[in-house]
């Protein structure tokens, strides 16, 4: 276990030459590491040094987005963060809206929060399922992936697509809430609450799980702050920080929710915090469906650009079709930053416009990329058998880190 505080000089000071250490390469095509390679130096079976080698699924999303019209970046960022598509979409649109100076109407804000919270539950269930298979429990893996389905069906009902929804556009959202959605959502939420009790019995309070995760992969509060860890992993170490509270966006200023934090910062706390966040998301979805305001789902600046056929379509089917403005969009010169709390942590966007057809600089940082220090720091001092536990507990997603 790493008792001392992280020091940047340690990277140079570790002497790993000579015959004493075994160098083990885990990945890049290994079920325990996904599309990345973890290079591990071992003394016996104690980990001495870890070097994460990423980039095997680098898809040049920044380069591509700088050479396309503004609206075409939405599908690109979605396909990078597949379990978290709505948040990537939302973060980019928030940055573009800051440049354009458009404020979406309240109903659109609530619908954005609704779809984001549904997506957060699917993302956490994905993480819990992967953690389960890493610890050798196929049951939880099957359960979690099965229980994702009702929520994905909800997304399909609302947006027309299961995963890559492209639901949020500058100025609002694309579809209004369909008939029967509220009743269906309530059924799904009640089902999930029942299932959470089952998860606690078979998985969360299971002595085998506790024995393998408690005091494994401890990240102290000071280290979590200095290493810039994000999301549930940060809050499991006891830092009270959530972008939804501290830099509110969408409907979050109006919603009543808590930010759960833990004390120990070990793998077990990182599991517990995901379960707690699912409970908070269920609470928020209920509030949103109860308080959903009436009105338009698209800002007036965009609505006025619709042609008569599109307006008729909007009134009858509650569907926003793309006006020509979207493809010829030229935001005024300037720069904008946006932060969004995704399932795995905080997405950061920095966009610079020169008033041109394409973005001049398109920079984004994903939560998995910022969670990389876990490998270099937290795994050191553990046995090799604990590496899958640590890897699974941080909910790392290689395509998201490589971008």
């Amino acid at each position: 276990m790493s008792e001392k505080i992280f020091n940047i000089d340690d990277l140079q000071n570790i002497k790993v030459e000579g015959e004493k250490y075994i160098i083990l390469q885990i990945g890049p095509s290994h079920p325990g590491s996904g599309h990345m390679r973890i290079k591990v130096w071992l003394d016996g079976d104690i980990i001495v040094k870890v070097d994460p080698d990423i980039g095997f699924v680098h898809r040049t999303s920044e380069w591509l987005s700088e050479r396309r019209e503004w609206i075409k970046a939405i599908p690109i960022v979605e396909r990078i963060m597949l379990p978290d598509t709505v948040h990537a979409n939302l973060a980019y649109v928030l940055a573009v809206e800051k440049l354009l100076g458009i404020e979406p109407p309240p109903r659109a804000q609530y619908l954005r929060s609704l779809v984001a919270e549904i997506n957060r539950i699917t993302s956490h269930l994905y993480g819990i399922g992967i953690f389960g298979i890493f610890l050798g429990s196929s049951t939880v893996y099957m359960w979690a992936f099965g229980d994702r389905e009702p929520f994905i069906d909800l997304m399909e009902m609302l947006t027309g697509a299961r995963i890559t929804t492209s639901y949020i556009i500058p100025g609002g959202v694309r579809w209004d809430i369909p008939n029967g959605f509220k009743e269906r959502a309530e059924t799904v939420l009640q089902y999930m609450e029942r299932r959470l009790k089952d998860y606690e019995d078979i998985w969360v309070k299971n002595p085998v799980v506790q024995a393998r995760t408690i005091n494994v992969g401890v990240l102290k509060k000071e280290d979590a702050i200095s290493l810039g860890v994000v999301g549930p992993n940060l809050r499991a170490s006891g830092v009270y920080y959530d972008t939804r509270k501290h830099q509110p966006y969408a409907a979050y200023p109006n919603l009543d929710f808590e930010v759960p934090t833990m004390k120990n910062g070990d793998a077990y706390d990182r599991l517990l915090i995901r379960v707690e966040e699912i409970k908070q998301s269920i609470r928020m979805i209920r509030q949103i469906l109860k308080d959903l305001p009436e009105g338009k789902i698209i800002a007036d600046q965009i609505y006025n650009q619709l042609n008569p056929v599109m307006k008729k379509n909007y009134e009858e089917k509650k569907r926003v079709m793309f006006p020509a403005f979207m493809i010829h969009m030229r935001p005024p010169p300037g720069e904008a930053t946006a932060k969004v709390e995704a399932g795995r942590g905080e997405i950061f966007f920095y966009i610079k416009s020169t008033g041109d057809k394409y973005p001049y600089r398109f920079r984004w940082v994903t939560p998995s990329f910022r969670n990389l220090p876990f490998f270099t720091h937290v795994a050191v001092g553990h046995r090799l058998a604990d590496l899958p536990t640590i890897y699974g507990s941080i909910d790392y997603f290689p395509p998201e880190a490589d971008r």
Partner: protein, 176 residues
């Protein structure tokens, strides 16, 4: 604490957009960047969100986006620490013919990893994409790019690639 006054003590060149909670400090002299970063850390900006470059025809702007986890007042602020660096002239035109993409000289700035350890992977990415050499970085290696892109700095605006040479290069790899 009035954040604006504190920032003005560090540098006279401060751009503030209160509405969007965006703050920007511009440091012209690379020598002063280390002191500026230290004083920001003492204020409470304890981690780096992103390190990136913005490429212009004559300069590269290096931006450290920092934020705070520990000070309650600063949690809502996105601060950009900006350092514009002039690009060096291209010395040897003939050297550019060998690789499939033309080689350009890198720029050099001080690394802030000693102050903010969270910048370690971000600075590696900015190095390979923009050709920004961070002096004092303990582990400045390529992170995302494969080796045929070495020293091509693909995120710069004048990046072009010669497809014929790229194919030749890939064929060489296959023959090995």
């Amino acid at each position: 604490m009035n954040i604006k006054d504190e920032l003005l003590k560090i540098s006279a060149n401060v751009v503030i957009d209160e509405k969007k909670a965006n703050y920007k400090i511009i440091i012209e002299d690379p020598v002063k960047i280390f002191d500026a970063a230290s004083s920001l850390k003492n204020l409470g900006f304890d981690h780096v969100v992103s390190v990136t470059g913005v490429d212009y025809p004559d300069k590269v702007e290096v931006i450290w986006h920092v934020s705070s986890y520990s000070v309650e007042d600063l949690k809502g602020i996105n601060l950009a620490l900006t350092l514009p660096v002039k690009k060096p002239e291209r010395v040897n035109q003939n050297e550019a013919q060998g690789n499939f993409a033309s080689k350009k000289p890198p720029v050099t700035v001080p690394s802030l990893v000693k102050i903010w350890p969270s910048a370690i992977f971000n600075e590696r990415e900015a190095f390979e994409m923009f050709g920004i050499i961070f002096e004092g970085h303990p582990d400045l290696r390529y992170l995302l790019l494969p080796e045929e892109f070495y020293e091509t700095w693909p995120m710069r605006k004048d990046f072009t690639y010669n497809r014929v040479n790229l194919l030749k290069y890939l064929r060489c790899l296959l023959n090995e």
